[in-house]
């Protein structure tokens, strides 16, 4: 059993790595996109098999209740996005925005990204985790700049510089954790193994841990997109290919958040260290309120949804910062739902932007009339992301807001305020996009609706009914997070 388990973990790393190598060599983009989908599907299958075969904890790799949530989510969205990407990329090729060479590069990079994210998730070593996240960052930098336009390059550049600083800060934090752990755990690799760290964190030097957390919070927080470290995020989302926007919002932000959570657990295990909650709560609230206001003046549809990702990352960070079984549960649920919903929105937006030939909100209108399926899909997605029932985000927002208000009424006020302001902005734009006189081109959509509606169906289902095992599992994780 353990052999099979190790196999499963290796599989979720090896399959993308191998696929990346193959794709880099394969000239035909059609086969490439098929292989991409196939590899993603295989990875998903391997990830699912982790449920039955959980490998023992190693010094490098770890699968526990916490990261299995993330792994399954990542591989699932990775798979659906690859399906979406297949139809999306074909259109890009047709309009000449990408050449087959770039497509080869794109597919290879896609799998490298998958590899990096999976690695970050299963890493039991904080150094390895750092390396994986940085790899993921660099990969996405390349993908964001793939269109080679001024805007794309500029976005990639901004992402690159800010990301590099974030990388550096996170590394400093990692070193500090090592320094804190060394006296207790001993020199060498052991002092970077997370399971060892968390088991003995009580004996660490609290001052070093605090300092480490500050750096990690800012370093990984840059990746999460928390304000005021968010600046790369909107442009990277707006200028890159839409599948990458979907993966960025749906997955990479989560992966960075996952890293933060790991360190939060570390700090929580040391009673003398400062409690990480308030810092996360403050950053979360700042991000939420800031992003909500930023939504109002957006003219680019993808950039708008990128800001909405910042907003939701703020909510999730806030929830985890609050802690406690309800808020943690809500945070996990919110993260899952946000991943699914936001990627679904980007699927819709990608096709819309292709049909209309523009990402300018002002040039898009009346979608429910001209493209009912896409239009209503977008409406449903925005409604979901705005936190309206019966979709899943409502449940998590319900839990976050109500539990916060019962515990810290004063914190709930800015939370509710931010949510409301963001809601108003999203709805305002939705009114123009989906309703009113049709604007812009009305060509036929060559879209694959499957991924979008699969995500929305899951979100809808989760809003009304969560299966018992999922709940038990989330609750368990919530307890782990403390």
């Amino acid at each position: 059993m353990s052999v099979a388990g190790i196999d499963a973990v290796s599989a979720i790393l090896l399959i993308p790595a191998a696929a990346a190598a193959v794709l880099a060599l394969l000239p035909d983009y059609r086969t490439g996109s098929r292989i991409n989908v196939g590899a993603a599907l295989l990875t998903l299958a391997a990830a699912l098999s982790l449920f039955w075969n959980r490998p023992p904890v190693g010094r490098y790799l770890l699968v526990d209740d916490l990261n299995i949530v993330f792994i399954v989510l990542t591989t699932f969205v990775g798979f659906t996005t690859s399906v979406f990407s297949a139809s999306y990329i074909a259109h890009e090729l047709k309009t000449g925005r990408l050449t087959p060479t770039y497509l080869r590069f794109y597919h290879a990079m896609y799998q490298v990204l998958m590899f990096a994210m999976n690695l970050a998730l299963v890493a039991n070593n904080i150094g390895l985790m750092w390396v994986a996240i940085e790899l993921a960052t660099l990969t996405t930098v390349l993908m964001v700049g793939i269109y080679r336009t001024h805007e794309a390059l500029e976005a990639a550049w901004k992402y690159f510089i800010l990301g590099s600083v974030g990388i550096a800060l996170a590394l400093f934090g990692t070193i500090l954790v090592y320094m804190a752990a060394r006296p207790t755990v001993g020199e060498g690799l052991d002092a970077m193994v997370w399971t060892h760290l968390v088991a003995r964190a009580a004996g660490f030097d609290p001052a070093l841990l605090n300092l480490a957390f500050v750096f990690l919070l800012l370093g990984y927080g840059t990746k999460v997109g928390l304000a005021p470290l968010h600046a790369w995020l909107p442009d990277a989302h707006a200028e890159g290919p839409t599948p990458i926007s979907a993966v960025l919002s749906g997955l990479l932000l989560n992966v960075a958040l996952y890293a933060l959570l790991r360190f939060k657990m570390l700090l929580a295990a040391n009673p003398a260290a400062l409690s990480p909650g308030p810092l996360m709560v403050i950053l979360g609230l700042v991000s939420l309120v800031f992003a909500s206001f930023m939504l109002y003046r957006r003219r680019d549809i993808k950039r708008m949804f990128a800001y909405s990702s910042i907003e939701h990352m703020g909510v999730i960070t806030f929830a985890f910062g609050m802690g406690g079984p309800l808020a943690n549960f809500a945070g996990l649920l919110h993260m899952t739902m946000h991943s699914l919903t936001k990627s679904a929105i980007f699927f819709a937006v990608g096709h819309i932007a292709q049909i209309k030939g523009t990402q300018k909100i002002a040039d898009i209108g009346g979608l429910t009339e001209t493209h009912p399926v896409l239009g209503w899909g977008l409406v449903l997605g925005v409604i979901a992301i705005a936190g309206l029932p019966p979709l899943g985000i409502f449940m998590s927002e319900f839990l976050v807001v109500s539990s916060t208000f019962a515990r810290e009424p004063l914190l709930a006020i800015p939370l509710v305020f931010g949510l409301l302001v963001g809601f108003g902005a999203l709805l305002l734009r939705l009114g123009g996009l989906a309703f009113g006189e049709p604007r812009g081109a009305t060509g036929v959509a060559e879209a694959s609706y499957g991924p979008m509606f699969a995500h929305l169906a899951l979100v809808l289902c989760a809003g009304v009914y969560l299966p018992g095992p999922v709940v038990a599992w989330f609750q368990n994780v919530a307890r782990l997070l403390g």
Binding site: W157, K158, I161, L162, V165, L169, A207, N210, L211, V214, L218, P228, L229, A231, W232, P234, L274, F290, F293, M294, Y296, R297, L326, G366, T368, I383, A386, G387, L388, P389, P390, F394, M395, E397, F398, L399, V401, S402, S403, T404, F405, A406, A412, V416, L419, L420, F423, G424, A425, L427, L428, G431, F435, G436, V464, Y465, L466, G468, V471, Q475
Partner: protein, 669 residues
């Protein structure tokens, strides 16, 4: 059993929604959808009645849906049954109406799928017995109705209405969410049973009241949270307007009653002051706004605001009495409020149906372009007239009964101990009286300008009577208005268990008093008999008519109108909606709306026309919402600069954040 039936209605309605997705474009599809909706609503009505009339014990069930560790708690008790009755009565009437009216819908695919979902949402709110299910269905109700408001999305006003509506709905939901958060506590006891078992501490309870007032009040349309209502209700197709005004506001009131009377524990003495003050302002402001409108559906929507105020007045009184331990008086006030809820549902549905019929027949909602429709659509006119009389609180119809009960409750208020209330309640009573009189004025104007006189536009001249389903729905509503008006005792008794559940006492049994008289407290104190008044009036009128026709004269000659000898053939010389309201505008509007009249008189000899222009200001919008919107806009503009910084400045942000956090660490004890 009633719970099972009522619960079955929900999947049935949702299934109808799915069916509607299939048949949305077929020409007869609407009949299937509305037919099934009608049947299901009748079923729900049956469930509600069987719960109410049998006086059955509350029944409760938990479905494995919703919040996972909690499940969806559902419960029917007398209160829920009463509102279930209202919801399904309104739903049935609207479905019946739509069986005919639906044929005229230009975009059925945007109405049919959402209509049953809207009904389902409202049913589920009433049945919900835990915070999550409650808010879920509450928001689904908002969402479905929003989609219906957006049905005619090409009109800019409708989009704006939909936007304002959904934002306000979301505001309401969030405040309710906060309220439930307080009620449930940090442990997350979201089931209503748990909350009932452990009511919140007094301070929290007060906060809950305020939040519930904001949340449910914004949905119900309390001034100053009403702004979305007159935008959204008219924008929807008329049968949906009827549901929104007639039923959804009641569901909102249900939410308030449930939270404040059932869950929040014992009321504090000052709660009622807040409710009464808001309610008093709402009644008068609502009707004054209504008087200033010339759009028929918007007028009706504002009148909904007024009626919601009346209901809240009753609720406020009930709260005051309950806080003082006067359960018998609280029972009277609560009965008045709940009965008015039913009444308003019926007559407002009727009026919106009428407005829909007019809108279809003349293609016009603006009263200034209507007129004389009584000749073209006599049956609609008659039904609409019944609705107007009912809503103006005139005997012997139902509106009078509930307002009369409210007045009786006001008259009990000297027994209250608190000085604040002693001063406030008479004031609220005066406002109620004022609003009743103004409502009569308002509906004289609505009916008179729309249906009487001469047609003000060619479209109004070509209008025709509406279809038979629509008429059936209107006459059914009119009949209910009359039945409740002349046999109110039956309904008061049916209400008694719900009232007893909320305030711990009930009104005396009504049906034992002779001749269907209703007696709020004791017979010597006050009583009213709608049946006798109705019989007397009918008898007196018909006997007189008979006698005069037999004895004196029954000859009639048609001739031109007299009009003091100067009849003008142009219909423009008639009194218009605006001119009709002019005296009242002068009396009240100068203060309430800053109404200003400007006369431009050309100099002698000039052929230019003289002009009179009237300007009105919506002080609530200008004073509350516009600044908020402007503030959000300004903040967004300010923050938006952050989108246009150089990389260096972004790095500076990171740097500042880092230094700030390090400083925090440095000064951390």
């Amino acid at each position: 059993m009633p719970l099972t039936i009522a619960l079955l209605c929900v999947p049935a309605l949702l299934g109808t929604s799915l069916l509607a997705l299939v048949v949305r474009r077929s020409p007869q599809g609407y009949r299937a959808v509305y037919g099934i909706s009608l049947a299901v609503s009748l079923l729900g009505l049956f469930a509600a009645l069987s719960q109410l009339l049998a006086g059955a014990e509350p029944s409760h069930t938990v479905l494995p849906l919703g919040l996972p560790w909690l499940g969806a708690h559902l419960r029917i008790d007398a209160l829920a049954a009463w509102f279930l009755l209202i919801a399904n009565l309104g739903g049935a009437a609207a479905s019946l109406f739509a069986l005919g009216y639906g044929a005229h819908e230009p975009a059925p695919q945007r109405v049919l799928p959402f209509y049953p979902a809207f009904l389902a949402g409202m049913t589920l709110v009433v049945l919900a017995d835990d915070a999550f299910t409650f808010l879920l269905s509450w928001e689904c109700m908002s969402l479905a109705s929003w989609a219906l408001v957006m049905a005619h999305h090409r009109e800019r006003d409708n989009r704006h209405a939909g936007y304002v509506y959904l934002v306000m709905a979301s505001f309401g939901t969030l405040t309710l969410l906060l309220a439930f958060g307080l009620l449930a506590g940090a442990q997350g006891g979201y089931a209503f049973e748990t909350i009932r078992a452990a009511p919140p501490a007094p301070l929290f309870a007060s906060l809950v009241l305020i939040l519930a007032l904001l949340g449910a009040g914004s949905k119900a349309g309390l001034v100053p949270l009403h702004v979305w209502l007159p935008l959204a209700h008219p924008a929807a197709p008329s049968h949906v307007s009827a549901l929104m005004s007639g039923v959804m506001t009641k569901v909102a009131i249900y939410g308030f009653v449930r939270i404040v009377f059932d869950l929040a524990g014992a009321p504090a003495w000052w709660w009622s002051m807040l409710v009464l003050a808001l309610a008093g302002v709402t009644t008068v402001m609502g009707v004054l706004y209504a008087l200033m409108q010339s759009d028929l559906k918007r007028l009706l929507a504002y009148s909904t605001v007024e009626n919601v105020g009346i209901v809240y007045l009753g609720l406020g009184l009930a709260l005051a009495f309950k806080a003082q331990g006067m359960a018998w008086a609280a029972a009277l006030a609560m009965t008045a409020a709940l009965l008015h809820g039913l009444n308003h549902c019926v007559f407002k549905s009727l009026l919106f149906f009428g407005a829909g019929a007019v809108l279809h027949a003349a293609g016009e909602r603006d009263m200034e372009r209507l007129g004389g429709l009584i000749h073209r659509m006599p049956q609609t006119a008659f039904a609409f007239l019944v609705g107007c009389v009912a809503i103006s609180a005139l005997p012997p119809l139902n509106g009078f009964v509930s307002e009369w009960l409210t007045f009786q409750a006001v008259l009990l208020s000297p027994e209250l101990q608190s000085w604040g209330l002693k001063l406030l309640v008479p004031g609220a009573g005066a406002l109620l009286a004022l609003s009743a009189a103004l409502a009569a004025a308002c509906f004289v104007r609505a009916f008179g300008v729309t249906f009487l006189g001469r047609a003000r536009s060619p479209a109004a001249e070509r209008a025709h009577e509406t279809d038979r389903f629509s008429r059936a729905a209107m006459f059914a509503c009119a009949a209910i208005c009359l039945v409740v008006g002349i046999l109110p005792g039956l309904f008061i008794d049916a209400l008694a268990p719900a009232v007893a559940q909320l305030v711990g006492d009930r009104m005396p049994v009504q049906t034992v008093a002779g001749w269907q008289t209703i007696v709020p407290i004791v017979e010597g104190r006050s009583s009213y008999n709608g049946l006798l008044v109705f019989v007397f009036m009918t008898a007196a009128a018909s006997l007189t008519a008979y006698a005069i026709h037999r004895v004196a004269s029954d000859r009639v000659r048609r001739g031109p109108a007299w009009d003091c000898g100067f009849p003008d053939p142009s219909p423009a010389t008639q009194y218009s909606a605006t001119s009709f309201a002019q005296p009242i505008r002068r009396v009240f509007g100068t203060v309430v709306f800053r109404a200003r009249e400007r006369v431009e008189m050309p100099p002698p000899g000039s052929p230019a026309p003289a002009r009179l222009s009237v300007s009105l200001q919506d002080l609530v919008w200008d004073g509350l919402y516009a600044p908020v919107a402007a503030g959000v806009g300004r903040a967004a503009d300010r923050l938006n600069h952050l989108q246009f910084l150089t990389i260096r400045r972004y790095l500076s942000l990171v740097f500042v954040a880092l230094v700030a956090l390090l400083l925090v660490l440095a000064i951390w004890p």
